[in-house]
Each structure stands twice: as C-alpha cells, then as structure tokens.
Symmetry: C2
Subunit: 144 residues, 2 copies
C-alpha cells in the first residue's frame, strides 16, 4: 500500500511536471510564484525560509523567473544588502495560467472519481498523512 501511494504520487508529480514543461517551468518555479502570490515584496531570505529551501537554491529559481519577466528584484530602500522580490503583472497572469494548468492536470488525475470519491480519498490520505507525519518526526518531507 505504501508503495502504491508512493508510486501513484510520483506519477502524479511527473504528470504535473510534464504539464508545466510547455511553459518552460518546473514545479519548483510554480512553488516560488505561489510563495509570492500575496503580493507583498519580501526578501529572498524570507521567501527561502517560507519555502523551506536554502537561500542559495532560491537564487537560480528567481534568476529564471526574472529573466522571464515574471518577477522583479528591487533594492530595499532601508537595507542595501537586501533585495525585495515580488510578482510583476506578467507574473501574476502567468501564475493564474499555471494554476489553471494545475487544475487541468488535477482533473485528469482524478478523472472517473465522483465528488464523494474525491472527498473520501482526501479523508483517507489525510489519515495516512497524519500517520507518516507522526512517524517522520522532524524530518523534512518536501516533495520538490
């Protein structure tokens, strides 16, 4: 059972990754964009901490998003070491599109399931999630 969940989960992740490929992005970038969704500019340190990744790893992800014109880095007016990062208008549009892509991928993944099925699946996975979370203790369980 654990293997089945892991296998299906992996396949679902791959499916989403492939759905993002035409957009030239990876789920990681999607996660970064979602982290900026609020709209308030934040430092890279803050964002990295919120995403649970090293700041050094965020650099490259932001580089691509900036290059694509989805995100902008601006110097902090109060601390010249800090760069404030935020979504630009095109980034907000792109994020909306990517959310739609995620929704489509979601519908393909859950095709053939009734609303009750989905609710039940969510409930059952919730139980399993609680079990494995308790098991893992403080272990990081980021997927991307």
């Amino acid at each position: 059972m654990g293997f089945v969940i892991a296998s299906v989960g992996h396949a679902a992740a791959v499916a989403f990754e492939e759905a993002l490929t035409p957009h030239g992005l990876h789920p990681r970038h999607f996660a970064v964009l979602k982290g900026l969704r609020g709209g308030e500019a934040q430092s890279q340190q803050q964002l990295a901490a919120a995403l649970g990744i090293p700041a050094s790893r965020l650099v490259g992800l932001l580089d691509l998003l900036v290059e694509r014109g989805l995100v902008e880095r601006q110097d902090s007016p109060t601390d010249r070491r800090v760069k404030l990062v935020r979504l630009v208008e095109a980034g907000r549009t792109a994020l909306d599109e990517l959310i739609a892509v995620a929704g489509q991928s979601e519908r393909r993944v859950t095709a053939g399931l009734t609303a009750e099925d989905k609710a039940e699946l969510r409930r059952l996975l919730g139980v399993v999630h609680a079990n494995v979370a308790a098991e893992a203790g403080g272990t990081r369980t980021r997927v991307w």
Copy 2:
C-alpha cells in the same frame, strides 16, 4: 490533490527507507532481493531487465548484497560471460525479515484505517493510477 498524493507518497517512501536503515539496506536492495525471490538463478541482464534498471546500476547493488552474504554470483556452466545470481539461504531469511519490516511500516502508515477504508483507498488509488499511467504513456515511472 495530486500534490497531496505525491507528498504522502514521498513521506511513505521515506518512512520505509528509514525502517530499512537499521538493516543497512535501501529500498533498492529490497527490490533486488524480491526480484530474486523465485529462487531460480538468473543472469544480471535478466534481473536488470526485470527490475527495469540499467545492468550497470545493478552491479553495485549486487556487490553489497554479495558482501553481506545474502546473494551469490556463480559462473554459468554454459556461457562463461554470464554470472548467474541467486539468493543464498541467509538472503532468503533476510528477505523474510525485510518483508516483515515492510509489513510493520505498512501497518504504521495505515494505522487508524478500517479494512473497508483500506479497500476503498486501494480502489481509489487504482483509478488514479490508471489515469496517470494513461497520461504518462510510455514514460518510465519507477519510484526507486
């Protein structure tokens, strides 16, 4: 939902991996041992193909299992290029233990679920699995 499945699946995989750690093995080795469960000696090529991994990758996995005295390589009597691989008695014992470990991990993961819950979860995951399998086309979806 796809994210939830992926996340839970990843956590379940990590949990199993950790359950195997005290035994000094990785899920990959468990998979290799299971591939040899039948008892018939097979060539490394056959085994690698059955596991869906490159033969070059199997070498290191077998090296460790041989070093542990769980598996033996013997020269083929009919083809001197071939090495026939099979479980040794200690390997069979170890495999039984590891299967028990997997069962314990399984029970922890599914704690709090009734038999009906488990059956339902299996059914729902089966549907999702069929969906993502169809999606993936020929894409490999090995987990380990």
